[in-house]
Amino acid sequence: MKRKYIIFFLSICTLTGCWDHRELSDITVVTGMAVDKSDDEKYMLSVEGINAQELNVKTASGFAPSIIFTLEGETIAELARKMNIGVSKHLVYSHMKTLIIGEEVAREGMIEFLDFLERNREIRDDFNITIARNVKAKDILTVTYQFQKSSALKIHTQLESFVQNWGGDPHVRLSDVIKAWTSPGSQPIMAALTIKGDPKKGPSTDNMKKVTPDALVTVDSLAIFKEEKLIGFLPLEDTRNILWITNKIKKTAISVPCKKDKFLAIRIYNTKTKIKGKMKNGRPSFYVKVRAEAYLDSSQCLEDLTQINTYSNFEELTEKEIHKGLSATIKKLQQEYKSDILGMGEILYRQDYESFKKIEKEWDKSFQDAIIDVDVKVQLRRSGIRTKSLLSNQK
């Protein structure tokens, strides 16, 4: 009996373990990956390995916060393993925060390397997927920044905060992209980034030392795909509206005109969108119901906020403004881009399966003729910590 136990324990120790044993001093954490089109071969992969000591306040000594190494090859998977051509330590991909895809790569529909990212054991599904607009993906990765120092970490934090406050990032992860790509009733979207300033001055520690950096990575727009191909970019305003329709928005703020050249600022802090889809007379029709709670953030119109009528008046104005924005975005998608990035097809698939089955093949065409009604109800709950505006007390 005892011998059995001994054999059991020995086999645990000898048959398993150790193969994935890596000391911390032997690894470099990869935080970002940039994929560009290569001139000679298919891909050009750049990875950002973090110099952990530079990110720690106590040990930082002013050197570059990370190292970016680029290789060219036919598959991303091979390149990811070949990085030791130039990098000393073992690269660990599990903490990758940002993936930046070059515009060219996306336009030519070469995003099939996502298969590697999904297949790999180490890589997780919690990194941002972005498109580099007008610049090379590698350039975006190389721009330094004062706070997170590494570009990939900065972008990750930046997009997260943006989603929380205003909603300009579609907040897509690998699984979202793949789901949108493969399902019949929706199309992938990604955030598009660009560099403000001189991309050549980005990869220097001097960039971190300036109050107004020479190069700064900014959120530019929303990249719209049709299948695997990038077909265009939508401005940030539309990005927010798309998130609103797809019920992904957390908080946002809008400016509503109340008089000529006078605006209200409305802060939306709680909102929900429900979509009902149905085939009506051979045309898909959708009813988008938006319900939102908001408070008045600022008012340039001097109306009496002690009166309930003022509130309902403001509510109406806001509803109209939102309605206008959402409808315009939908129209743009239907007529200009002809791509169902809203996932309306999926809604129809769920709610009216029989009809959707019939038009599944030419859904993109049906989407263009779809009737999409938007119904917005806003409830203005309060007006900040002030009732009367300071403007009403003017001399």
């Binding site: 150790c18 890596r22 911390l24 954490v29 973090i50 000591q53 903490h95």
Partner: protein, 547 residues
């Protein structure tokens, strides 16, 4: 029970009954049937040589005693030839002042002392309430002398008189050094068992509180008492305790630890199977719950049996504090047990196998700190843990005069210098400290030993197998725990087997009025503990205190 001659007896016994040993293997396999066992035990009693004192003369008696005790310096014999009285005692064991005050009266008396009855009545007059017993055999006389009696023998009487005059040399009752409380009684047990019993008796003034005496240790003849509350303690467990104590045949018992090892259900375990305490209030509370205590003369540590896993997280103060605080602190204790057990191994496992488990910023910060550390994580951990164990042992053993050295050397030299020299990382110091501090939270010192030793096993498994290894050890540990029993009670009760009624006093402590019954797992003879109808509340709500 006296075992003065049993050495000889047992030799004979084994020589006669056991077949000659062929090989160790056959010896191991041989099973002894119950009847054989019982017969043997009876025989031991018959074999005893009974040496009565019926017709000894004083001279003969003196010879016998000097023969038995040799020329030991503290044996005093006082003889009065004209009356035929022989009085002897161990100088070191009796209170000399009392002897001086009382014994001369025996010599001065004019009474005839020709019968035992007359002797008894005389002694009643002289010694009053002091307990005495009549002893008839040499064996009994020896034991009485060793117990601190003076023995009075009169020529040709078939019984002698042994009067207990034990010295009262003991330290005074003081605060326990190992199990301290903020709120609660501050007295602790001392080395004298009679004082300890009185401390318990003063808390439970109940005729059902019983103590039974055993004498264990053939060389030391140590007095061991078991205490229980009749009608509450489970009779079967009580009988088991008695049996196990009776079966002990060793030459010496000095501490409750000796007894604990000899009566435990299983000794190949890191976990203690009996609770030890220095606190009379803990003992009293446990007695009333239905447990049995074992007191050993010469040590302030008292054993409480049966003890289950959760008992080692309960302290007396839990019941003196508000129940919210008590519950919180109890959970802190469970938590710190896990911390003490797991932190170093999790550190090794996560840092060498599972980098993805840490948040990125934490990982980067750890990497930055470990930059330049020459050792792998496991060596670093073992180095620091062993250093800490050495420091701890030194701190306990070191003479108090040089005690401060430990803290200086430990904190400054080992901790700070090692980190500054870059031999270990700063985070390692945090890990070692939190582990050490958590380990000290354990209310019972012997229980902390379990996590102290298992920790190293876990570190080694984590180094080889990562968190998978940690899991393996934990699974094995839980399997082992559930196989343990303390006097027949499953060690993990009332968690496994799960007893819903007992959950009121496991991870949290319910208010006093709601714990109406004694713990089920102890199988107490009588269950109700609180006789109030309901919780205290205003009269119109029908509160229990206002009826």
């Amino acid at each position: 029970m006296y075992y003065g001659n049993s050495e000889k007896a047992s030799q004979k016994k084994w020589g006669e009954n056991v077949a000659p040993i062929k090989s160790i293997r056959t010896l191991k396999k041989k099973r002894i049937s119950w009847e054989e066992k019982l017969n043997r035990e009876v025989k031991v009693d018959n074999d005893k040589e009974v040496q009565r004192i019926d017709n000894h003369s004083i001279e003969q008696l003196k010879m016998e005693i000097t023969g038995a005790f040799g020329n030991t310096a503290d044996l005093k014999m006082v003889e009065s030839t004209e009356k035929g009285i022989l009085l002897f005692y161990l100088d070191s064991m009796v209170d000399s002042k009392t002897v001086k005050d009382t014994t001369p009266v025996i010599y001065r008396t004019d009474r005839e002392l020709s019968t035992v009855k007359e002797l008894t009545s005389l002694c009643n007059e002289i010694f009053g309430g002091a307990s005495f017993q009549l002893v008839g055999t040499m064996q009994e006389i020896y034991t009485a002398v060793l117990d601190g009696c003076i023995v009075i023998t009169i020529e040709h009487l078939n019984q002698s008189l042994a009067i207990s005059m034990m010295t009262d040399e003991k330290r005074s009752v003081s605060e326990p050094t190992t199990q301290t409380v903020i709120r609660g009684p501050k007295d602790g047990f001392i080395e004298s068992v009679s004082t300890n019993i009185s401390l318990i008796r003063r808390r439970i003034r109940n005729q059902n509180l019983r103590f039974e005496r055993f004498t264990i240790g053939e060389a030391t003849q140590t007095a061991v008492y078991i205490g229980f509350v009749n009608g509450i303690a489970n009779n079967a467990i009580l009988e088991e305790v008695r049996n196990r104590l009776k079966k002990i045949k060793v030459s010496a018992i000095f501490e409750s630890g000796n007894i604990e090892e000899l009566i435990a259900d299983k000794t190949f375990t890191f976990f203690p199977l009996a609770l030890n305490t220095e606190r009379p209030d803990t003992v009293a509370a446990n007695l009333v719950e239905g447990k049995i205590v074992i007191l050993i003369d010469g040590t302030p540590f008292v054993l409480i049996v049966p003890a289950v896993f959760v008992n080692f997280f309960e302290i007396a103060e839990d019941y003196y504090q508000p129940y919210f605080l008590a519950s919180f602190l109890r959970m802190i204790r469970y938590l710190s047990f896990m911390i003490a057990l797991l932190t170093p191994s999790l550190y090794v496992g996560v840092l060498t196998f599972h980098h993805e488990l840490l948040p990125t910023t934490l990982l980067l910060s750890v990497i930055a700190q470990r930059e330049g550390v020459p050792f792998p994580a496991v060596i670093e951990v073992l180095l620091m843990e062993i250093t800490f164990e050495i420091l701890r042992e030194a701190g306990v053993r070191m003479p108090k005069v040089v005690g401060q050295m430990v803290s200086i050397v430990g904190a400054l030299v080992i901790g700070q210098a090692a980190a500054e020299a870059g031999i270990i990382s700063n985070i390692m110091i945090i890990i070692v400290s939190i582990t050490a501090i958590s380990n000290f939270v354990s209310p019972v010192y012997s229980f902390a030993a379990a996590s102290r030793i298992l920790r190293f096993l876990l570190i080694i498994f984590a180094a080889v197998l990562g968190l998978y290894g940690v899991l393996i050890v934990l699974v094995a540990m839980v399997a082992h725990l559930s196989s343990l029993r303390s006097f027949g009670i499953p060690y993990l009760a009332p968690i496994a087997p799960f007893i819903i009624e007992d959950q009121k006093d496991v991870f949290v402590r319910f208010p006093f009025w709601s714990m109406k019954k004694r713990p089920k797992y102890l199988r107490a003879e009588s269950e109700p503990k609180i006789f109030m109808e309901s919780s205290p509340s205003p009269p119109d709500k029908g509160g229990g205190n206002n009826k």
